[in-house]
């Protein structure tokens, strides 16, 4: 993909919600307007490289409106009804920032399943094509198209002008961020862009908290994977490869949010990430403060997964025995429980128990990179000193 086309794509995606809002203001329903805008985007990708428009937004509005009228006419003809589509669009008021905000709320509407809300947000707010979203989620394009059109039907009765709950929008953006990237679309970067755009139209400390959390995690991305694709745990990452620009931005946004004294879970998670980012070496991590932030997170969410992470932090702050004591109070069917137990037992000097637990954790891992990492941990402990134990019947 050449540079010019990439720039056009960025512009296209940024213009998408505005163009959609303009069609909405002219009286087009959400589902039909969204289809028309998607058609216009596909057309733009085809035409712009050879014939760039002087007014990209005007071009998109014209083409999308034309598509909307064509579709409406075809629809009307099919139903043998009188053609009522207006040839000349009513001017309508200019779209405002509120239109973009309403679009976020609509696409994250609580009546949608999380997967549908993410897909709809990426398309209607993010301007990604169905094909790109399908590639990112590794499903056939037809499947993703159906998922999106069902989502649009689900929200078709929702009024465009009702204020929504910002926490549902944040959950959707966080889900997209956590997909990372596969295919040619970087969903983490896209989620950051959409969260920045949201932060520009709504003043809310948790939006800032999520943006900060994303930036702080994104800053570590290059260090998180080895050249062979294997996972590098936080403590072993080459911290010189962390993106200091993103870290500074994330910390700045977080500090401004925390100063407003309306703590929420994303701000607290960002605070943990910021404390990791602040340590020049893993040994210098301020685990005592991290435990305090986990206390806040437990208070805010009550989540057992947060308690599990807190047990790790306690193990670092007060020693592995203290961490194991915390762990003993939790349900051992929690995801990653065995991995955490393995880590704490190894730190406590019990390599045999740790190796068995790492192997058990590998069997329960839900993704390949994590499974391989845990298997390697078990193998490392089983083959120390060149000896081999376990399945091959060694002498350890």
């Amino acid at each position: 993909m050449d540079e010019a086309l990439t720039m056009d794509e960025a512009l296209l995606r940024a213009l998408t919600p505005r163009v959609l809002a303009i069609l909405g203001r002219r009286g087009a329903g959400f589902a039909a307007a969204e289809d028309a805008v998607q058609d216009a985007l596909v057309e733009a990708v085809r035409v712009w490289p050879d014939d760039p428009p002087r007014d990209p937004q005007g071009w998109l509005v014209t083409v999308a409106w034309r598509r909307f009228l064509d579709a409406t006419r075809a629809d009307t003809a099919r139903r043998r009804r009188e053609d009522r589509a207006e040839e000349e669009p009513p001017p309508g008021p200019a779209p405002s920032v509120d239109d973009t905000l309403q679009l976020y709320f609509l696409c994250a509407h609580p009546s949608l399943t999380p997967a549908s809300a993410v897909a709809l947000t990426l398309r209607a707010v993010g301007g990604l094509t169905t094909r790109q979203i399908a590639q990112a989620y590794v499903v056939p394009e037809a499947t993703m198209a159906q998922r999106i059109s069902r989502a649009k039907r689900t929200v078709s009765g929702v009024r465009f002008d009702r204020p929504g709950d910002v926490s549902t929008v944040l959950r959707v953006l966080y889900l997209a961020f956590n997909e990372g990237y596969s295919g040619d679309v970087d969903l983490a970067a896209e989620a950051i862009r959409l969260t920045r755009q949201l932060a520009a139209v709504i003043d809310h400390p948790e939006v800032a908290g999520l943006l900060s959390l994303m930036l702080l995690h994104h800053a570590r991305r290059a260090a998180r994977t080895a050249p062979d694709g294997s996972l590098v745990p936080l403590a072993e990452q080459d911290r010189s490869r962390w993106d200091t620009g993103l870290i500074a931005e994330g910390v700045g946004i977080l500090q401004a949010a925390l100063a407003r004294d309306r703590l929420g879970e994303f701000q607290a998670q960002a605070a943990v990430a910021a404390l990791h980012a602040d340590a020049p070496r893993a040994e210098e991590t301020d685990w005592t403060q991290i435990v305090e932030w986990y206390d806040e997170l437990v208070r805010l969410t009550g989540s057992p997964v947060v308690r599990l992470n807190r047990a790790v932090a306690v193990g670092e702050a007060d020693g592995p025995r203290a961490g194991l004591a915390e762990l003993a109070r939790l349900d051992d069917s929690l995801p990653r429980y065995a991995a955490v137990a393995a880590y704490l037992h190894e730190r406590d000097g019990d390599a045999g128990t740790a190796a068995a637990l790492y192997a058990e954790a590998a069997l329960k891992a839900s993704n390949l990179a994590e499974r391989d990492h845990l298997t390697r941990q078990a193998a490392r402990l089983n083959t120390r000193g060149g000896r081999r134990s376990g399945v091959e019947g060694g002498d350890a």
């Binding site: 399943t113 999380p114 997967a115 549908s116 989620y137 590794v138 499903v139 056939p140 037809a142 499947t143 993703m144 198209a145 159906q146 998922r147 999106i148 069902r150 961020f177 956590n178 997909e179 990372g180 596969s182 983490a188 959390l213 995690h217 994104h218 991305r221 998180r224 996972l231 745990p233 936080l234 998670q269 891992a365 839900s366 993704n367 390949l368 990179a369 994590e370 499974r371």
Partner: protein, 135 residues
């Protein structure tokens, strides 16, 4: 969303309730069975949950590397192989409960006498390629 493999076995699965081999069904019963499977896949396409569905020939060969510069060794088929995969469907669904629900429906495909086969299907979650971004 998570992907699941619904695995159908020629052999190796526990016996179904309606255990009459397909070659002893009437042609109409076979047609009804095929239609059920196609309708099921088409319905999942509409709900945005379908990823892939394939059937496998019962016979194949075993192949392994035999050293630098040599052609691979082939062998089989082995009549004694206990587990034989007949085909699969891959679905992308919101929950494990949904995967089980759909496997249950697929297992109700009609067989002899037009009654559900009640065959055992294996439901296996996919390992995703990447961990979540946040650690």
């Amino acid at each position: 969303m998570a992907k699941y493999l619904l695995l159908k076995h020629y052999r190796g699965a526990p016996a179904p309730v309606n255990d009459v081999p397909m070659d002893q069904w009437t042609p109409q019963e076979i047609s009804a069975h095929v239609r059920y499977m196609n309708d099921f896949a088409a319905r999942l396409e509409k709900t945005g949950e379908f990823v892939d569905g394939q059937a496998l020939a019962p016979e194949g060969s075993w192949v392994r590397y035999d050293g630098e510069g040599r052609p691979p060794v082939t062998d089989g088929p082995f009549a004694e192989t206990k587990d034989l995969i007949a085909g699969w469907m891959v679905i992308d669904v919101d929950s494990h409960e949904r995967a089980v629900e759909l496997a249950g429906e697929l297992s109700a495909a009609p067989g002899a006498g037009g009654r559900p086969i009640h065959e055992w299907l294996e439901v296996r979650p996919f390992l995703t390629a990447h961990p979540t971004v946040t650690e």
